[in-house]
Amino acid sequence: MSISLAEPVRSGRRDDVRSEAAVRLDGVTKRFGSHTALHEAWLRIERGEFMTLLGPSGCGKTTLLNLIAGFLEVDGGEIFIDGSLVTETPAHRREIGIVFQNYALFPHMSVARNIGYGLRMRGVPKAEAARRVEQALALVKLSGYEDRRPRELSGGQQQRVALARALVIRPKVLLLDEPFSALDKNLRGSMQVELKEIQRKLGVTTVFVTHDQGEALSMSDRIAVMSAGRIRQIAAPDDVYRQPADRFVASFVGDANVIPARLAERRGDMAVAVLGDIAVTVPGQPLADLSPGAPVDLFLRPEQIRVTDPAGAEVLPGTVTAQVFQGDHIDVYVQTPAAGDRRLLVRLPGPEAAGRWPVGARVGLTVPATGAVAFPTGGDDA
């Protein structure tokens, strides 16, 4: 049952030839009774990469994290860490560090003993352990807090101790399970920045789980978007945002305006969708199964739509129904026949927009000729 971590990979795949990934999941499946939480997940995380698992609750992201950690056993597939097969290895021998949402600091130990726990389990000599604990505290900017108890610390401080505890053992992979959701907005922002700095400094491979797409977009090297136990897309934040692979990703990541349109023709690997007299070029791949004339849904980000006068060609007529002040910009909701019952969301910078397009005003919406995506109608929006 216990396989040494130094055992070479036996899969015989092409992957052996490339450099070893820090974490690799080959077709990993996990079932709970009759419910399949994870369907054959294939994932490859490179050394030093910050990978975020993003999705709504129940999508399987925490299950995947627990499988990497070894807290759950797989029902199918294999897991490799640093090239070694760890599927059968128990959790306490996997050399991972994990940070929980509720910190999970040992209440009966001081900060120093909490951080030093992993070192004690590995038999690190006292003097060296003390030194490394000090370094870890300095890393998270909590020097001097050695003798405090967890209950004396604020939420943010506890989270930093949890981070120090996970990092001091120099793990092969750092796992974080929605670590910042319990913190208030401002604290969350600064913790995100700190975490990113520490991660870059140490170069530790990091897997971060969250349901907050803003968090995912700002922190990650790559994002794996998940829903209903499947990975929908693995790409850099920019690609996930601008070129979502399916309508779930398009709706879940960032705000999306959906307008019904029609597939007019294909041009190479692009396609043209038409909305009345407006033509939009979109990636052709998602529409590969459709023939010209088929209905499609056009997905537009709020910043891609512009508000102008209602008169004019290639403009969608509409009425402003609401304005929501957001500090640095204004969210304007527009009702337009082209989109049926759904309100379109447009973002306008600055305060002048409020005066220029008040509630009830008739407006014209322009859509960009390129940069949008379209998907076949039907299917889940998340």
């Binding site: 070894g70 959790a91 009966h108 726990y117 992993g118 505890r165 996970a166």
Partner: protein, 272 residues
């Protein structure tokens, strides 16, 4: 806050009621305390003159002394064994699925329903049939069986209140299941374990009915010795002993409440 006369009188009535009931609870203890100081050798009330002689008698009477010794021996063995067996089983019950789980749990909880005299009688007959000696072993086993349900319940409740993620964190840091148990689980369960042990010890020390059946002249515990004394003599010695008992128990419980929070053990604490 305008409170009607009806509301206010209701609240006063309620308070009086509670005080009256508490008075009922305290009555025997108060009465026996006063009776213990009676200088005369009759069980009467109120005493004409006061004296400490019955306290001296209680503390020097041979049967009481040997009963106390036997009681301590039995109690220490029984509560410790019950703690080890009960805590281990409660742990398994809380975490694992296994065969015979409900059966064993049901059997071990049955002393809550089965009368103590039945268990005492049964052990007596079992020892006669199986040729077992009627020594301390039998008494200890009897007590373990009787206090085990309470220990199991106390430990189970403590386990429910333990955050599992602390153990997961320890595991992720490299602790094997055994080390997790020793460095995380047990230290955090300690208050529950101690109060469970204390509960068991007090119940065991005071257990009478079943003990009456399974002890002999040699192994009799203090309650049995006290019972035998009452059947023979009518003087206030036993009153004095009762007073000592009450004082000791109240002190012990007060201490336990201050340091461990009796409320948690008995599951009566307010959640907020």
């Amino acid at each position: 806050m305008r409170r009607s006369l009806a509301d206010r009188s209701l609240s006063v009535l309620g308070r009086l009621l509670v005080v009256a009931i508490l008075g009922f609870v305290v009555l025997p203890a108060a009465v026996v305390t006063i009776a213990a100081f009676n200088s005369k050798a009759i069980l009467s009330f109120p005493p004409d003159s006061l004296s400490f002689r019955w306290f001296r008698q209680a503390l020097t009477y041979d049967d009481f002394r040997s009963g106390f010794r036997s009681g301590i021996v039995v109690t220490l063995w029984a509560s410790t064994l019950a703690l080890v067996v009960g805590a281990a089983f409660a742990f398994a019950l809380h975490r694992y699925r296994f065969r015979f789980r409900s059966a064993i749990e049901g059997v071990l909880l049955s002393p809550l329903i089965i009368p103590h005299f039945t268990i005492g009688l049964g052990l007596l007959m079992l020892s006669a049939q199986a040729g077992l000696p009627r020594g301390y072993g039998l008494v200890v086993f009897c007590h373990v069986v009787l206090v085990l349900p309470f220990v199991m319940r106390s430990v189970y409740i403590s386990l429910e209140n333990l955050d599992l993620r602390l153990e997961l964190a320890a595991t992720s840091l490299g602790a094997s299941p055994g080390r997790v148990l020793l460095t995380i689980t047990l230290p955090l369960l300690l208050p529950g374990l101690v109060s469970g042990w204390l509960f068991a010890a007090i119940l065991s020390f005071n257990e009478f009915t079943a003990t009456l059946f399974v002890t002999t002249q040699r192994t009799q515990t203090l309650p049995v010795a006290m019972y035998n004394y009452v059947r023979e003599y009518a003087d206030p010695t036993l009153a004095a002993l009762s007073v000592i008992y009450i004082a000791a128990t109240a002190a012990l419980l007060g201490f336990a409440n201050a340091y461990l929070g009796l409320g948690k053990v008995l599951n009566v604490d307010q959640p907020r």
